[in-house]
């Protein structure tokens, strides 16, 4: 993986999935989502996973996060890796204010009282344009602000592996660019691994240092498999990826075309 190394992804495995099989009971029979599925995720890389709805992207993240079991195969994570999982839904607790929601993860970890965490929390609120909203309830925040609070909650937890399940799909374009930037900055500054699931081709290319396209239709008896896996590199990456700049790069369109063909749309 020479390319992965170039984009901050090392050669150390963060997650190794080997010969994974997973079925769901479905009506009378079973829905076979994965059959001998293998995927390696390297430390420090940002892996975008693309695929049609229902092809098992969320199931894959659940399995990586350990919140869901599987039938056979091996899933190995870095020892003691802390997992941060961010969902499509912001899942803010309505009875907590923004700051209280943001510190939920560290509170569970038992480090919320540390001055360093407190300082970081306020920094994130500043950086993501939420200054002054710390004590607002979720009902007083817009959708974009809520998802930003959810992102702070995840980043403050300081995960080694960040799992993102289409977290920005319901946001306006501006907010989305801002949050993509925040995720990339976090991953780069701390050499953290990011697994970014989306069905937005554009976003997958702009964010990922590697891109995997899944294809399959478990409902039709066709388990998901990887139909395209490739590194995504832009000249500007040396300085840190800017999700706006790369969208203007001419390579962007090449990647776009390639992904579309893999998805059977080109």
């Amino acid at each position: 993986m020479a390319n992965a190394q170039r984009h901050g992804g090392g050669s150390v495995l963060a997650v190794e999935i080997f010969q994974l099989s997973k079925c769901f009971p479905h009506n009378a029979g079973v829905l076979r989502v994965f059959d001998s599925f293998s995927l390696e995720i390297y430390r420090g890389e940002v892996l975008s996973i693309l695929g049609a709805s229902g092809c098992g992207k969320t199931t894959l993240l659940n399995i990586i996060s350990g919140t869901e079991g599987f039938d056979s195969g091996v899933v190995r994570r870095e020892l003691d890796a802390r997992i941060g999982y961010m969902f499509q839904n912001d899942l803010l607790l309505p009875w907590r204010d923004a700051a209280g929601n943001a510190q939920l993860g560290v509170e569970i970890m038992g480090t919320a009282h540390l001055p360093e965490k407190r300082r970081r929390l306020l920094e994130y609120f500043d950086d993501l344009g939420l200054k002054g909203f710390e004590n607002c309830g979720p009902q007083q925040l817009s959708g974009g602000m809520r998802q930003r609070v959810a992102l702070i909650r995840t980043l403050l937890f300081d995960p080694d592996i960040l799992l993102l399940d289409e977290p920005f799909s319901s946001l306006d374009y501006n907010t989305r660019l801002c949050l993509e930037g925040a995720v990339l900055a976090f991953a780069r500054a701390r050499e953290r691994t990011v697994v970014f699931v989306t069905h937005d081709i554009d976003e997958a290319i702009a964010v990922g240092s590697r891109l995997v396209v899944l294809d399959g239709d478990p409902a039709e008896g066709r388990p998901s498999e990887i139909v395209l896996a490739r590194d995504v590199a832009f000249p500007q990456d040396v300085m840190g990826r800017d999700p706006i700049a790369v969208r203007q790069d001419r390579r962007f369109l090449d990647y776009f075309g390639e992904v579309c063909r893999a998805l059977g749309k080109g």
């Binding site: 969902f87 839904n89 899942l91 309505p94 009875w95 907590r96 569970i108 309830g137």
Partner: protein, 268 residues
Amino acid sequence: MRLRRLACELALVLLPAAILGLAWELAVMRSSRAQFLFASPSLVVKRLLEYVAQGDAVVDTWVTASEAFVGFLAGNAIGVIVGIALAYYPTVQRIAKWYILALGAIPIFSLAPMMIMWFGIGYVAKVMMSIFSTVLVTTGLAYAGATSGVEGEYVRLLRSFGASRQQVFLKVVVPSALSWVVASFRLTVGFALLGAFIGEFISAERGLGYRILRAGGTYDTPLVLAGITLIVVLALLLSKLVDLVGWLLLRGLRMKWVQERNALGRMG
């Protein structure tokens, strides 16, 4: 300017009452028979002032208020505990729900004779009636609140942070149940008042329910209506009081008020 708008608003609100009162007054003016049956605003006000001057009004209102308030507090406390416990033990809930449905089907009136046999005709019986009248509602609310977060993705979120079962319970289940219960305080205090009132209606020596029943027995229509007026005032005051209780409680627990769960909140 703001004061003028407020005065305007108040005048608008009072206008229908004034028109109705005036029509009522005029309609019964010429007939003593009609005045006997329907009283009149002036008679009600006169009787109310007498009632207050005798000192009975304050005592009766205070008695009913304290019965309802104590019943409200106890009913909510029991309801929260039982509701959360049922959420924690699904098997018990599966069995208990039939009993709760059965208890809920009992008209609260029908319990009054037993309450009197067991607890006498004093204060305790009324409080018990008030508790009975609230507790099933709060149990249902607490259970709904406690389970709403659990079935959803909140648990998956907390699990992804490595939360234990106890942490899920303390950070999602309990606050969720409380937020539902507190948001419905205005609703449940109405039930508490109803319970206390019915208790007094059956048998008592003091209280607004007792006074209204007695007044009815002696064809003292103005006093019945004066009593009802006080009940209305009391109900409004109690709903303000429980707003304050809820506010203090949430503040003490550093929780936010969750408005969307309160159907009555929409009306101010």
